[in-house]
């Protein structure tokens, strides 16, 4: 089976979908000739032509707004936002329009678009090429939100997202693009939206995470195991809909929970997970629900010292886990 990194598996998913269904197209800044600044659409222009691989003008609101219009006429656009930091000019089109189209038209119209965006830091991207703003879209009924952490899941989830009848936010951690390789089958397969995965079983505490932080949590779990603490690690994979069952049954077993995310701590995705646990599994808990997250400063600085200071790390996670288990 071919071995692929995440960027290759994403490109492969798009390729599979475009080859199968001519309604699928991609649009975004530099997605054509350049193949995307991260190369997620490399080679697609040559293969599918200018009409289906659109080098859009530099205007995010239009990328999403035009994609909505295409979807209204039955196309299935995949919009690339060059960096998640630059999705903000499109927030109105996403939240007011895409997310509410089906609802407000009582199912007459819908906007089945996929919005891909590289997010997250640790790549010296500074304040504006490192952000994790998934909270904004998690708080928006009508959207789904997917964040894969492995090449295999990335392809399977992206194929699910493209086939989904509703708008899907698809956030890709840019530091994961080339970090890991694994076997990724050719052709179509899907990973269902809405199912979290226990990526490491354990009995002493549950670490809930997604994206790059899953790998940091796994590293932390290895370190913890050496110290006799068995952490169960959950990769959410989908933030909306959130797989409450997987989270809650793990927490009911381990009695301790911690959420790890790289977004700003306050009101970040971990707040919802913690609230869920506090509401549904409170009597099972033997310890406070911990959060290891990005700092509450505007974003991570460029210089590596402060970038590291901002980000959760395997060490910080392990340390917090130790404290939780001790409490």
């Amino acid at each position: 089976m071919p071995v692929r990194n995440m960027i290759d598996s994403i490109r492969d998913a798009i390729d599979v979908a475009m080859a199968e269904d001519e309604r699928v197209l991609v649009l975004g800044e530099d997605v054509g000739v350049r193949g995307g600044v991260f190369q997620a659409t490399k080679g697609l222009l040559e293969k599918y032509g200018e009409q289906r691989v659109i080098d859009s003008p530099l205007a995010e609101s239009s990328i999403v707004g035009v994609a909505i219009g295409m979807a209204l006429e039955g196309l299935h656009p995949i919009a690339e936002i060059q960096f998640a930091d630059f999705i903000l000019p499109a927030v109105n089109q996403i939240i007011s329009e895409a997310a509410k189209m089906r609802y407000r038209s009582y199912n007459d119209y819908s906007a089945p678009i996929v919005i891909r965006a590289p997010f997250g830091g640790g790549v010296h991207g500074g304040l504006y090429h490192s952000q994790s703003n998934e909270t904004i879209f998690m708080h928006c009924p009508g959207l789904k939100m997917v964040i894969p952490s492995t090449p295999y899941d990335a392809k399977g989830l992206l194929l699910s997202a493209i086939a989904d009848p509703d708008p899907v936010m698809f956030y890709e951690h840019k530091r994961l693009y080339r970090l890991i390789k694994e076997e990724v089958p050719d052709g179509r397969y899907t990973v269902p939206i809405g199912q979290a995965k226990v990526v490491r079983p354990g009995r002493d505490l549950t670490i809930v995470s997604y994206g790059l932080m899953v790998h940091f949590a796994l590293e932390a779990a290895s370190a913890l195991a050496a110290a006799g603490v068995e952490a169960e690690v959950i990769d959410l994979r989908t933030l909306v809909p959130l797989d409450q069952d997987t989270v809650l049954s793990s927490v009911r077993k381990t009695k301790r929970a911690m959420v790890v995310y790289e977004a700003n701590r306050t009101m970040g995705p971990g707040a919802e997970v913690a609230a869920l646990i506090a509401e549904q599994a409170l009597f099972d808990l033997d310890a406070p629900v911990g959060r290891v997250a990005g700092l509450d400063i505007p974003a991570m600085p460029y210089n590596h010292v402060q970038e590291e200071f901002f980000l959760p790390s395997p060490d910080k996670i392990a340390k917090a886990a130790q404290e939780l288990v001790a409490s």
Binding site: M70, P77, S96, E97, R104, Y109
Partner: protein, 334 residues
């Protein structure tokens, strides 16, 4: 002095000419009735087409049923021209079960119905221009000769999506009819505080696009200009920015008091240029309409409206739980 007989524009039969008048009048009478229902406390909100009927019915009539229209909240005339019934519109007005626009979810004035190829809109202004561009992209990509038409107020053109939409449409030479219904105000803000130019259509040059301004109270002039633009689109020659100079003769909405920002003289002067009276005159001169038919049609329409009011008042509200449907596609639906 011999008066020249008004001439019907290309593509309009005598029935078509009369239908335009009927649509305008139905829009007006329905709108007026909504205001009285609001004023007697039967409905919380009206937003109005009054004064803009010629603009609305005129541009809408230039399209085919398989074209796509993306109206804005003032376009009651468009909804009627496309074929939404008075009964349906009254259900929407009261937010009742069976409203084909949103099943009572949206405020009145938020038109949208797939059967009529009329895209659902939000209350957020100007966003819909980009949807029309995307629709037109799909049409062009498939080699169809359909067009997308989208309407908006002149005040809303200050928003960034206006620029982004015109830019896209011009780069890809898409078949879009951009219709600006310029009524001189954005709620209370007069045009000279919205833009430094005289004509919105002057902005077309910034996109190497056709720009046309016509008297929005002259329904045949509107129709002709829209038809020309639509045909330009069908021929693959790109988009048009069509500006219709008109006026709303009532407040912005039932929540507004327009006396604080415009003089009664100005409003009265525009009432004197009523597009419906004007077109009735034209049709009469063409020999297609007369006082008797007018009275009869009014009476008929009024009773249609009253029946619609009665039915809509009697209609149930949607079930509470119905509010949970269609956040996402339902099981098995695609």
């Amino acid at each position: 002095m011999a008066k020249t007989q008004p001439k019907a524009p290309q593509g309009l039969s005598q029935d078509g000419l009369v239908q335009i008048y009927k649509d305008m009048l139905v829009a007006r009478l329905l709108d007026e009735r909504m205001w009285t229902l609001n004023r007697i406390g039967k409905a919380p909100f009206v937003i109005s087409c009054q004064g803009q009927e010629a603009s609305q019915v005129g541009w809408s009539a230039a399209l085919r049923p398989d074209d796509v229209v993306v109206p804005y909240y003032r376009d009651l005339g468009v909804a009627i021209q496309r074929g939404m019934t008075v009964a349906e519109l009254m259900l929407a007005f009261f937010g009742k079960e069976g409203d084909p626009n949103s099943n009572g979810r949206q405020m009145p004035g938020h038109f949208g119905c797939k059967r009529l190829n009329m895209v659902s809109g939000s209350s957020v202004v100007i966003v819909q221009m980009l949807h029309a561009v995307g629709v037109a992209y799909a049409m062009k990509m498939r080699g169809q000769d359909r067009v997308a038409a989208v309407a908006f107020g002149e005040g809303s053109t200050a928003g960034g999506d206006f620029h982004e939409a015109l830019n896209w449409a011009s780069i890809y030479r898409l078949p879009v009819l951009f219709v600006c219904e310029n009524n001189g105000y954005a709620i209370s803000v007069p045009q000279h505080r919205e833009m430094a130019i005289e004509n919105v259509s002057d902005r077309a040059g910034a996109y190497d696009m056709a720009g046309v301004t016509v008297d929005g109270n002259d329904v045949l002039a509107v129709y002709e200009a829209a038809l020309e633009a639509v045909e330009r689109g069908r021929r693959g020659e790109g988009a048009t920015l069509l500006e219709l100079k008109t006026y709303r003769v009532v407040p912005h909405s039932s929540d507004d008091d327009d006396r604080v920002y415009r003089s009664r003289e100005e409003v009265e002067a525009w009432k004197g240029r009523d597009p419906i009276a004007r077109y009735r005159q034209t049709l009469t001169e063409m020999g297609l309409w007369d006082e008797g038919r007018d009275q009869a049609f009014r009476t008929e329409t009024q009773s249609e409206i009253e029946a619609a009011v009665t039915a809509a008042e009697a209609a149930p509200f949607p079930d509470a739980k119905d509010a949970l449907r269609f956040v996402y596609a339902e099981e098995g639906q695609n």
